[in-house]
């Protein structure tokens, strides 16, 4: 009995409270999307909110089971669990049910399970176990590659389904690797390359180029504190761009303002090389080189995208990125989603008063686009509250992870943090048009058992590990 009392008193009840609050708010919103005059009882199991209620109760059971399991189990069996998860990912390719042309579901007795969701937990455990090992140092290439292999193996299997959304989430583990010693340059470059890729495909080059330049100029000004020099650089960019543009008009090549700006960027970089010899401000030069490289990268992506790829390949990427220009096609979801969120205004239309979401304008209303209901019915204040709740949960998980004494628990905690963070940012980001439409659920919030149970298990494994952090070193 003493053990269980210890667990209860050592449990991080703050996290539990956050988990419960978010899950309940999620259910309320699922209720709102399913609500209409014909179905009013909350126990109507023909409706999604009725089923979700059962799944919520089941997730409490999941939480309890996880909490009552000996924490050594997770450490000891981490590789076995990982192996099992990989196996289930293979099985689903063979026996899975095909939904929306990807084969990612098991159907067992009326319940659909998505192994990709559970594989995240297993991957977190296996990665934690690996990094916890002796002589593991992520600055060494061998260790890094092995860690990457642990993450990429399930990704490869998930891409075979194919379920791009679930696979993308595994990018989150890069945060864990960074925290545990990954070269920060690789980490930041990786993030910049990904962000710029989306920027290049989604936005006009002219605007992207201008924003990158502005950021670079501010960076140079702050780092060098030579404001006149920065001003000169800015004038040089503008001057060379304008001159290029005028010359081009005269010559009739019609290269456009964006490419003229590129000439400006090259000119500014050359100027900076000269400044570097005079003032010895190497970091600024690197920054400007980085700026020019980014701009060229954007153009390369854009060129490859529009000139090299064939139309059907382009279309496929466009659909994945949600930038399909046809509002009746893939872009339709996004516009409808933004309309319903935007129409919520400051305070929202009130519980069950949403018209856009009620009319089922938005597809995947209760799963991937559940945040639309929050935005429409609860307005900016409600949306902000949900975002703050997630941020607090994330901060709390990071705090819990940091207070672990074992590397295993810390890495595991960070894995949870990172996966949760990516789900949170991508899901809400896509409903407001910041991130390409990638179909992944909002943790604890979206309709569906698999994700809810997987995230609940993942959270409570950390809480269980945390409850024993003082008593034993794993």
């Amino acid at each position: 009995m003493k053990r269980s009392i210890n667990i209860v008193s050592n449990l991080d009840w703050f996290s539990v409270a956050l988990w419960l609050t978010i899950s309940v708010i999620g259910w309320i919103n699922i209720y709102a999307t399913g609500y209409d005059d014909r179905h009013t009882g909350i126990m109507d199991y023909s409706q999604q909110y009725g089923k979700q209620l059962i799944w919520l109760l089941a997730s409490v059971v999941v939480a309890a089971v996880v909490i009552l399991t000996d924490s050594r189990f997770y450490h000891l069996f981490s590789y076995a669990i990982y192996g099992g998860a990989l196996f289930s990912l293979v099985l689903v390719l063979i026996f899975g049910k095909e939904v929306n042309s990807s084969q990612s579901w098991f159907e067992i007795g009326g319940i659909s399970l998505q192994p990709a969701e559970f594989a995240k937990v297993a991957t977190a455990l296996a990665l934690a176990r690996y990094i916890d090992g002796r002589n593991i140092n992520l600055t060494s290439t061998a260790s890094l590659l092995k860690s990457l292999a642990i993450v990429l193996l399930p990704v490869a299997l998930i891409l075979l389904q194919p379920d791009l959304g679930s696979a993308v989430v595994y990018a989150a583990f890069v945060f864990v690797l960074y925290r545990e010693g990954l070269n920060p340059f690789i980490f930041l470059s990786g993030i910049v390359v990904v962000v710029l890729f989306f920027v290049a495909v989604i936005f006009e080059e002219l605007y992207s180029t201008m924003v990158i330049m502005a950021v670079a100029m501010v960076g140079v000004a702050l780092m060098s504190r030579r404001y006149m020099m920065t001003l000169t650089l800015a004038v040089a960019i503008a001057g060379v761009a304008a001159a290029t543009l005028l010359l081009d008009r005269a010559a009739g090549f019609n290269i456009g303002a964006d490419r003229a700006l590129m000439a400006g960027a090259v000119a500014a970089t050359l100027l900076m090389v000269w400044y570097n010899f005079r003032f010895r401000i190497r970091r600024c030069m690197v920054l400007l080189l980085f700026m020019t490289a980014s701009i060229f990268y954007i153009y390369t992506v854009d060129y490859v995208f529009h000139e090299v790829l064939r139309p059907h390949q382009r279309e496929r990427i466009n659909i994945v990125l949600g930038v399909e220009s046809d509002p009746l096609g893939a872009g339709y979801n996004l516009h409808q989603s933004m309309i319903s969120i935007g129409s919520g205004g400051l305070t929202g239309k009130g519980f069950l008063q949403g018209t856009q979401t009620k009319f089922r304008f938005v597809p995947e209303q209760s799963t991937d686009f559940i945040f639309c209901t929050v935005g429409e019915e609860w307005g900016f204040l409600g949306s902000a509250a949900v975002i703050v709740l997630y941020l607090v949960l994330l901060m709390r998980i990071q705090y819990v992870a940091e207070r672990q004494r074992s590397v295993f628990s810390r890495v595991y905690g960070y894995s949870l943090f990172s996966v949760l963070f990516l789900h949170f940012f991508i899901n809400i980001g896509m409903t407001v048009g910041l991130v390409p439409v990638i179909g992944i659920p909002l943790p604890f919030f979206s309709y569906g058992g698999s994700a809810l149970w997987a995230f609940t298990a993942m959270l409570f494994i950390l809480l269980r590990l945390d409850s024993e952090r003082r008593s034993r070193l794993l």
Binding site: G342, S343, Q356, F361, V388, Q398, Y414
Partner: protein
């Protein structure tokens, strides 16, 4: 515990905070700052109006316009946006009953309450004008413009095919289509649907509660322009096609003309036919029903779907096979009794060589060489020799579909050995059992297209290009059609003897079967055929190509129930050839003879 990277937690925290702030900023912008969404929420609804692309036009080989577009207006409804209104007034304007209004509304609602559905198709211009003024009184209704087909001449209906509303299955199979859309159902319209249809665009409007447009949503930021369909240049010579249809009026049958050097179909006439504009517009379904129930079956494309025994027109191919198998030489002569066994012949008595036998169409000659083919000892058995004959026919384009772009084409029929095994038992049949195949009668069935293609392969002395209907799509050649050159596998030298015979059919002396169709300047190589028809008057058949050197046109003419091939089919072929090669017709009497001839009973002529 040594944790060298402890400080990194700050950057990670910062990223989470920044991400949350970015989301908050974005939400603040779209929910509080930018009121275009809120305005929409309070009073407006967004309406997606599909902007239909103009369907691609269809031209003939000389750039003459065949099919183009005419504007039409459909009344659409979004059930969720309808409110209390003057229903009676609307019914009045549209000329529909209250019941019809209710059932249309229910049909629309059952598809979707939120997506526009077709309410009344193709409004008359008066109704359209009236509606434009009063539409604001009927929230949820709006007019959508689209284009219908129009035809420069009332010909080539089967070739171009027709378009019609998509069915549910097509909508489910292809995301492009929405209920009420049109798509190609037959002919070129169907084969080249994807090229012709273009890409739809969309305009997004804000619409107030009265159904009035209150502006473009987000200043047209998400609007897109329709991309027009691609224009198609066909291989058809519209003038020749029209002339062929004129010649075939009041008859049943078909004319197919092919350019031998390319496989391009110059004309493909089927009779009776119909005016393609009958299947456009509001009367479409009514007209379609009456065409369907017409006893003359005008929707049936005889050129590619009707299969006839080829009759004597088949003899040149029998001769080719015999030479190829080495069972005869072209100068070998065969007795004519007259006739051979139970097959009769005309009143000539001289033993003929191959060119002579083709010229006089000697049945005895072809029965005997057919017997030699089937009893060829270099094959193990009759059945195997027959299989060899069968394969040869397939390689000459008989017995299977020829075209890539005519969906309804039928393969005709060349019986397999197993077919006769079933009838006579294995080994129970010999050359004499099936001797009528040697003169193109019996079980063999060919389509007019296959006969024309067969003549093209003779004109080319041993190969043909798969017959096709399209030369260019948006200026580009559809490559796979051009590349498909098919070799018959028969020596070109063998062809010269057959061609000599075919030339003598028209230009030979005593006994030539089609001397009366000779043209002053053009050497026609042809063959008559009279197809025995157990159900009535024989079918008149003529196949030909011209000129003999550097052939420009290969043709097959089949006129049902018209008797001897030389009487009607041959002059018709001659007229077509002359018209195509010279642009005019010199022998008016010959033209009148065909034009005035009718095989349709007087009471059937109305169609």
């Amino acid at each position: 515990m040594n944790d060298r990277y402890l400080n990194r937690r700050h950057l990670i925290s910062a990223m989470a905070v920044v991400a949350a702030l970015v989301l908050l900023g974005r939400l603040f912008h779209i929910q509080v700052v930018d009121d275009s969404y809120s305005r929409f929420a309070e009073r407006n609804v967004v309406r997606y109006v599909t902007r239909y692309p103009a369907r691609g036009m269809i031209y003939d080989r000389n750039g003459e316009l065949m099919v183009y577009n005419q504007p039409a207006y459909d009344l659409m409804v979004i059930p969720a946006q309808t409110t209390e209104m003057d229903t009676a007034g609307l019914c009045d304007m549209l000329g529909i009953t209250r019941e019809s209004f209710i059932s249309r509304m229910e049909a629309a609602s059952s598809y979707s309450r939120l997506v526009p559905s077709l309410f009344v198709r193709q409004l008359s211009s008066e109704t359209y004008a009236m509606l434009q003024e009063t539409l604001f009184r009927f929230p949820g209704f709006f007019v959508q413009s689209r284009s219908l087909r129009d035809y420069s001449l009332p010909v080539a209906a089967h070739l171009v095919g027709y378009i019609g509303e998509v069915d549910r299955r097509t909508i489910e199979a292809d995301e492009y289509y929405r209920p009420g859309d049109y798509y190609g159902i037959s002919g070129i319209e169907r084969s080249y649907e994807e090229a012709l249809r273009g890409t739809k665009g969309v305009s997004v409007y804000m619409v107030d509660v009265h159904g009035r447009r209150s502006g473009s949503f987000r200043d047209g930021a998400i609007d897109s322009d329709p991309v027009p369909g691609k224009d198609i240049v066909t291989t058809i010579d519209l003038e020749l096609q029209a002339y062929g249809e004129l010649l075939m009026q009041n008859k049943r049958g078909s004319i197919v003309a092919i350019e031998p050097a390319t496989g391009e179909i110059l004309a493909m006439v089927t009779a009776p036919s119909y005016d393609p504009s009958l299947l456009v517009g509001r009367a479409r379904s009514e007209n379609f029903r009456s065409l369907q129930s017409d006893t003359l079956n005008p929707l049936f494309n005889r050129a590619i779907m009707a299969a006839y025994p080829p009759g004597s027109a088949f003899k040149p191919f029998v001769g080719l096979i015999a030479m190829h198998e080495g069972v005869i030489t072209p100068d070998m002569r065969f007795e004519c009794a007259p006739g051979y066994r139970f097959v009769g012949c005309h009143s000539h008595h001289l033993p003929q060589d191959l060119p002579g036998a083709i010229m006089s169409s000697c049945n005895a000659y072809f029965c005997q060489i057919f017997r030699r083919i089937i009893e060829n000892s270099s094959f193990g058995s009759v059945s195997e020799a027959y299989s060899g004959w069968n394969q040869r026919l397939h390689s000459m384009g008989f017995g299977s579909r020829l075209t890539a772009d005519l969906m309804n084409e039928l393969p005709g029929f060349i019986p397999e050995p197993a077919y006769y095994d079933r009838f006579y038992g294995e080994g129970g049949w010999r050359a004499l059992t099936i001797i009528s195949l040697g003169i193109g009668q019996g079980e063999i069935m060919t389509t007019p297209l296959q006969l024309a293609n067969g003549m093209a392969s003779i004109a080319n002395r041993g190969y043909y290009y798969r017959p096709h209907l399209v030369r260019a799509i948006d200026g580009e050649q559809p490559g796979e059609l051009i590349a498909a050159r098919v070799e018959t596998g028969i020596d070109s030298l063998d062809y010269t003897h057959v061609i000599e015979g075919l030339s003598r059919v028209v230009h030979g002396g005593e006994g030539a079967t089609a001397r009366h169709i000779a043209l002053p300047e053009i050497e026609i190589c042809g063959k008559t055929g009279t197809v025995q028809n157990p159900h009535g008057e024989n079918h008149s058949v003529f196949v030909a190509f011209a000129p003999r050197e550097n052939p420009q046109i290969a043709i097959a003419v089949v006129i049902e129930n018209a008797g001897f091939g030389s009487t009607y089919a041959a002059p018709a072929a001659s007229l077509m050839i002359e018209r195509y090669l010279t642009g005019t017709v010199t022998n008016r009497w010959r033209e009148e003879h065909i034009l005035n001839f009718s095989t349709l009973a007087a009471d059937e002529e109305e169609y």
